[in-house]
Amino acid sequence: MSDIRHSLLRRDALSAAKEVLYHLDIYFSSQLQNSPLPLVDKGPTDLLEEFLFQVPKERGAPPKRLTPLQELQLLEIMCNYFQEQTKDSVRQVIFSSLFSPQGNKADDSRMALLGKLVSMAVAVCRVPVLECAAFWLQRTPAVFCVRLARALVDDYCNLVPGSIQTLKQIFTASPRFCCQFITSVTALYDLSSDELIPPSDLLELIVSWIFEDPRLILITFLNTPIAANLPMGFLELTPLTGLIRWCVKAPLAYTRKKKASLSNGHPPSKIAKDSASGEDRDCHQLYSKLHLSVLQVLMMLQGHLTEKNLYGRLGLVPFDHVVPLVEDINRLSDELNPLNASKEIELALDRLAQALQVAMASGALLCTRDDLRTVCSRLPHNNLLQLVISGPVQQPTHGALPPGFYPHIHTPPLGYPALPAHPVQTFIPGVAFPYRPIR
């Protein structure tokens, strides 16, 4: 490897980067031929960091930077490379070795380049890259996924007006990527503050995708062999929790935002007010639509769970995530109470109740009503929620379980291990992708 390095050192930044890619391709291709599970040793990674991500090897050496133009060239080369690489496994290995976070200072430029690459792939519709990205999103700690999501949202929702259409198109090209993208976006925009309310373009995009085919939500879940114990710190299998959070919190979050802008001292001009309220109305409809889709998907879920023999064993809507959601609603409704936001609070609680009920019924949420009662006790009064918490026990439709009981009562959900086992991501059977999750 050191002779390659010496030859690379003499080159300019772009051609060195190209060379690295070339060498990497050769290296992994040969490795994969020898063994199905290539050992990625330190050599190629170091080369990548030095020549692709421009992290100077020697201390104090001036960092060689790619100019934006060269960077664009590099992106094009990479896009083309992944497009033309016919072997799925090589592609995956190379993508993973390029962009798996290593916990060092190269990660920043790594993430920046990844963001640009995926953004570029979205624009010029490079399906292989998107597929790789979808897998990357599955195997990478959520913090990094969120960064990628933010980069894409910035590019397609903020920067270029109208380019959201470009993003919309990839629904047909790579549903798997779309699903992962939704998951990461819901993780990013958790409505905990005004900045973390999803842009309306994005919302519309996602609602249109899901409305078109609600099963999109479940693609990852359905196409991934599931180990019952999910690792911590990674994206969830489905965006369900995030979407429920969106639908439930949205009425309150939007009201809070309006209040903040009012109390900021600039009362919006009439036109701005009108357009804002119009936009809000649109958003509310979108959230309603989304809520409906989510409920539909939850209903669907029972079958899939049963199919996979995971019913009652895998909480796709983890109770641990419901608790903070309920707390958030509690806090928000307290905050907004003086503002006569009873309608919004009612709506939020209705949605919460519906989602809880359906999720529990479909086996996505594994908990007892007592748990729920404890959690929801401090919420403002809501008839539906009251019913859901204390209502007549619904007869389970699941035949495997005795009537009147929820599966989890007898088989408590599998607890998360303190140290997650090596995640088993076996989309290429037998090939485990080495990476070091960052804690």
Binding site: L69, A123, V160
Partner: protein, 929 residues
């Protein structure tokens, strides 16, 4: 195909490019080749390609922007080339490049407008960096003005479409962000500014004037940060060099902005200053030195800040400042003090205020402090030290300058002193308050100011000190200053006096002050102390040059002024060779002043007038003559006659007093003042003419005899004093001539020889007039007696004597009363006349005694006696030649022995004596020699 669009085709909102098209575009953009034909793209087409990517492909935006750099660079280059080309062709057509440039500008504008938060920071950074690069790159082109001339540079770059477009883009970004958070945009600007400092200043200046609030505070805090980073290296010099450009560009930018946004800059600087006080943070500690450094480099900033800064230095602030600096090491403190002193020297706006502040702080006027926190003692000491150093520094500046001025070096102005120049008056006023130590400093400063702005300023300072002093202690300052100035300058005193006279002429001095000035001057002229050391000779000489101007003041309507002028002139040494043109007005004014004083009846106030006239007459014989003539003329003419018991001539219409400003309307409106007259409204009162007020009283004989006597005595004694100047004979002659001129001007040149009595008939009218004049003016007799005292002089009055004698002869001839007592005036006049003639040695003693008889005689006897006098005079004409000078006595004497026989003239006398021997026996012995 998008690439094949004609260049000018305005792109309608097209649907987003398909993925296929987009990848084609990317390929074309990167390779620079037309994807269809494989031919190289033209630069404009390439640039359009970049613009499309900018719009459609988010990850490519940096690359696109980078590509556009080339476009702008090329356009700038072209513009400069066009500018340099000697023959500018017709207006350059819009080249494709220029069009693309505008497209790029529009595209960026749209993007920024669409989503400022996402685009503005990046685009702003790009634009500012590109502008920085371009202006650095082309800075050394011939034809590009040097970095120092900001305005030319601004003009050049604003005329260039490419840079103009960039600037517009940047401004749009900043404008879009200014409401929320402009930090990113401004930081980009300042970073570029740091990198491309002097060449880039035009951008900052322009942006700054568009967004003053944002930019000013940013530039300042950026400069401060830099200053802190290199802080303390100032003294080292070498390290300081590196910083110069940075702070220099801060100064340059602020200087550019100062013309229009001085207010904001001032506020911002003051805000920084006050914020820094009492703050323990490191960069706040450096604020004051930083501000000082700024002020040092930019007089404009200094001028903008200093007045308000001084106002804001209240005790709490000062105490904070003191505390702030108390921890600073000594040598650093020295440096700061040095800078402050330097700055003080260069302060011009508000210099007076600054000075007063320093003085008041260094030496508080009163020990009782104002309410509020007390001033720390250290502050006072520091101020005192500053003041002393300032004076020292000024002294250095002023004196090195004055020595340089000998070598014809251009004078280096000291702004502080320049600014104080218009305030010499206030400064003098302050100095004259004589407030302990302040006075010393002020005096020193005044001297420096005088030297600095010599000759005019020196004169002005002296003048004000003279004019404003009220007590002897205050007055002492002027000579002190003068003594100091005389050592370094040509004597400023004449100029000071000239300035004073000019001020007087211009009427700029209020009357009380004018009087004070005159009094002060005369005080300085007084002999000092008991040893009679003469007063200021130089001052006297200077004043004497303005004698006519000062003399005019004698007639000032305000008595105080007139009196002061009189004192001054009386004390003023008069040059021997006074030109008549100067002398005569002075004399005239002095005489009128004297009479005016007499009229007021204030004997004490008269003394200076008398002294002045005496001095004037002592100047030269001619002067004495003039004085006497004026006095006599004055005493007899016009209204002055009544002072001596005379009655004025009936006033002619032109002599009528000017009608007082009476408004009939006003009078009529005073209803209650109206008289209820018996005759009704239409009664006529012969009291005057309507509109002119009351008819003046013909005779104002309200003066008591004592007063008349006193006046006469005063006048005569004055005359006598004035006569002392020349010989008594000469003086008497002058008085005589003046008398003739005053009483009977037409006979002034008449024959001295006595005509036969018959000829008197030819001059009856004149004689009558003369007689009347004598009746009107009782003063004439004393005057004539005075003339008679200076011996031959009375001869020159012979025409008057003749007229009077003729008139009296005619009267007694016609008088049918039994006793002369019936016409008392004529009797007195006859007696007086004869006595006069005797005293003037025109009649021999025996004849001259005959007036003793007159009261006892009958009119016809008096007539006879007077005729005999006439006879004698006819034979022995009163001619000056008959007098001989007697050197041992020093006087002229007439020897009657040489005249003819006296006895025939005594016959009538003796006959009258005999006839009345029963009554006149006692006197007979007097008439028998």
């Amino acid at each position: 195909m998008a690439l094949c669009d004609p260049p000018g085709a305005a792109s309608p909102p097209r649907p987003p490019l398909s993925a296929q098209e987009l990848s084609q575009e990317v390929k074309a953009f990167l390779s620079g080749l037309d994807p269809v034909q494989g031919t190289p793209l033209s630069p404009p087409a390439h640039a359009r390609c970049a613009l499309r990517l900018l719009r459609c492909l988010p990850p490519a935006r940096h690359a696109a922007l980078q590509h556009l750099r080339g476009l702008f660079d090329e356009q700038v280059c072209q513009h400069l080339l066009q500018r340099e080309s000697p023959a500018p062709g017709p207006a350059p057509k819009a080249t494709p490049g220029a069009e693309v440039l505008q497209e790029a500008r529009r595209a960026l504008a749209e993007l920024v407008a669409a989503n400022p938060r996402a685009w503005a920071p990046g685009v702003a950074a790009w634009a500012s960096e590109l502008m920085g690069q371009l202006s650095s790159k082309y800075a050394n082109r011939p034809g590009v003005p040097p970095a120092a001339s900001l305005n030319e540079l601004l003009q050049l770059w604003m005329a260039c479409p490419a840079t103009r477009a960039l600037l517009d883009i940047y401004s749009q970004c900043l404008a879009a962000m200014v409401g929320s958070c402009p930090d990113a945009c401004v930081d980009a600007l300042l970073d570029t500014s740091v990198q491309h400092s002097p060449h880039f200043d035009w951008v900052v200046a322009h942006v700054g004037s568009s967004f003053p609030g944002t930019i000013i505070s940013r530039v300042l805090s950026c400069g401060l940060k830099d200053f802190c980073a290199h802080g303390g290296a100032e003294a080292a010099g070498t390290a300081g060099d590196k910083r110069v450009p940075k702070i220099a560009s801060v100064v340059g930018i602020l200087g550019h902005l100062a013309s229009r946004h001085a207010g904001s800059i001032k506020q911002e600087l003051l805000r920084m200053f006050h914020e820094s006080l009492g703050s323990p943070r490191e960069h706040h500690k450096a604020t004051v030195p930083f501000l000082l450094q700024l002020a040092l480099m930019s007089p404009a900033l200094l001028a903008a800040v200093s007045p308000e800064l001084v106002d804001s230095l209240k005790p709490p602030v000062l105490n904070q400042l003191h505390q702030h600096f108390s921890s600073v090491p000594r040598d650093e403190l020295e440096g700061v003090v040095g800078v402050v002193v330097h700055l003080l020297c260069h302060t011009s706006a508000g210099a007076l205020r600054t000075l007063r502040f320093l003085l008041a702080t260094a030496a508080p006027a009163s020990v009782i402090t104002a309410p509020g926190p007390a001033l720390h003692e250290g502050v006072r000491e520091a101020c005192e030290r500053l003041l002393q150093l300032l004076l020292l520094h000024l002294q250095k500046l002023v004196h090195s300058r004055s020595s340089a001025s000998l070598a014809e070096c251009p004078a280096r102005p000291v702004p502080f002193l320049e600014a104080l120049r218009p305030h010499v008056r206030e400064l003098c006023q302050d100095t004259l308050r004589l407030e302990r130590r302040r006075c010393l400093w002020q005096h020193q400063l005044l001297a420096l100011l005088a030297v600095h702005s010599a000759p005019h300023g020196a004169a002005e300072a002296l003048f004000y000190l003279l004019a404003l002093a009220r007590t002897p202690e205050e007055l002492a300052l002027a000579p002190q200053l003068h003594a100091g100035l005389r050592a370094v300058l040509p004597d400023p005193l004449p100029a000071a006096v000239a300035a004073a006279v000019a001020q007087i002429h211009a009427g700029r001095l209020p009357e009380p002050q004018l009087a004070q000035l005159l009094r002060n001057l005369s005080l300085l002229l007084q002999p000092r102390g008991d040893d009679g050391e003469p007063g200021d000779a130089a001052l006297g000489a200077a004043l004497a040059r303005h004698l006519p101007d000062l003399a005019q003041l004698l007639l000032h309507p305000r008595a105080e002024v007139a009196e002061a002028a009189c004192r001054l002139l009386a004390a003023c040494p008069l040059p021997r060779a006074l030109p008549p043109a100067h002398l005569l007005p002075a004399v005239r004014a002095a005489v009128r002043g004297f009479f005016a004083g007499l009229r007021r009846g204030d004997a004490a106030a008269l003394a200076p007038g008398v002294r002045l006239l005496a001095r004037l007459s002592a100047v030269s014989p001619a002067a004495a003559k003039a004085v006497l003539a004026q006095l006599v003329e004055g005493a007899l003419g016009g209204h002055n006659a009544e002072l001596f018991g005379g009655s004025a001539d009936p006033p002619g219409p032109e002599a009528a007093p000017a009608p007082p400003p009476v408004s009939l309307l006003d009078t009529n409106q005073c209803f209650t003042a109206g008289l209820t007259t018996a005759g009704g409204v239409w009664s006529v009162f012969h009291a005057g003419v309507i509109g002119r007020g009351l008819k003046p009283h013909a005779g104002l004989g309200q003066r008591s005899p004592e007063e008349l006597n006193r006046n006469t005595q005063t006048f005569l004694s004055l005359l006598l004093r004035c006569c002392r100047g020349s010989g008594p004979a000469e003086a008497a002659k002058a008085v005589a001539a003046a008398l003739v001129e005053a009483v009977c001007p037409e006979a002034a040149g008449a024959e001295l020889a006595w005509p036969p009595e018959e000829l008197a008939r030819a001059t009856v009218e004149r004689d009558l007039r003369i007689l009347r004049r004598f009746r009107q003016h009782p003063l004439l007799f004393p005057l004539l007696r005075l003339v008679a005292g200076g011996h031959p002089a009375l001869c020159y009055c012979s025409v008057l004597l003749r007229g009077l004698l003729a008139g009296l002869v005619a009267h007694w001839d016609a008088c049918r009363d039994p006793s002369t007592g019936a016409s008392p005036w004529h009797l007195r006049a006859s007696c007086a006349l004869v006595a006069l003639l005797a005293e003037g040695s025109l009649l021999p003693p025996v004849l001259g005694n005959m007036h003793e008889l007159f009261p006892e005689l009958a009119p016809f006897e008096v007539h006879l006696l007077l005729l005999s006098v006439w006879g004698y005079l006819r034979e022995n004409s009163p001619l000056p030649q008959k007098f001989t000078f007697q050197p041992e006595l020093g006087v002229f004497r007439r020897d009657f022995g040489r005249d003819g026989d006296l006895s025939k003239h005594l016959a009538v006398l003796h006959a009258v004596l005999h006839r009345n021997i029963h009554r006149l026996g006692l006197l007979a012995a007097r008439f028998y020699p």
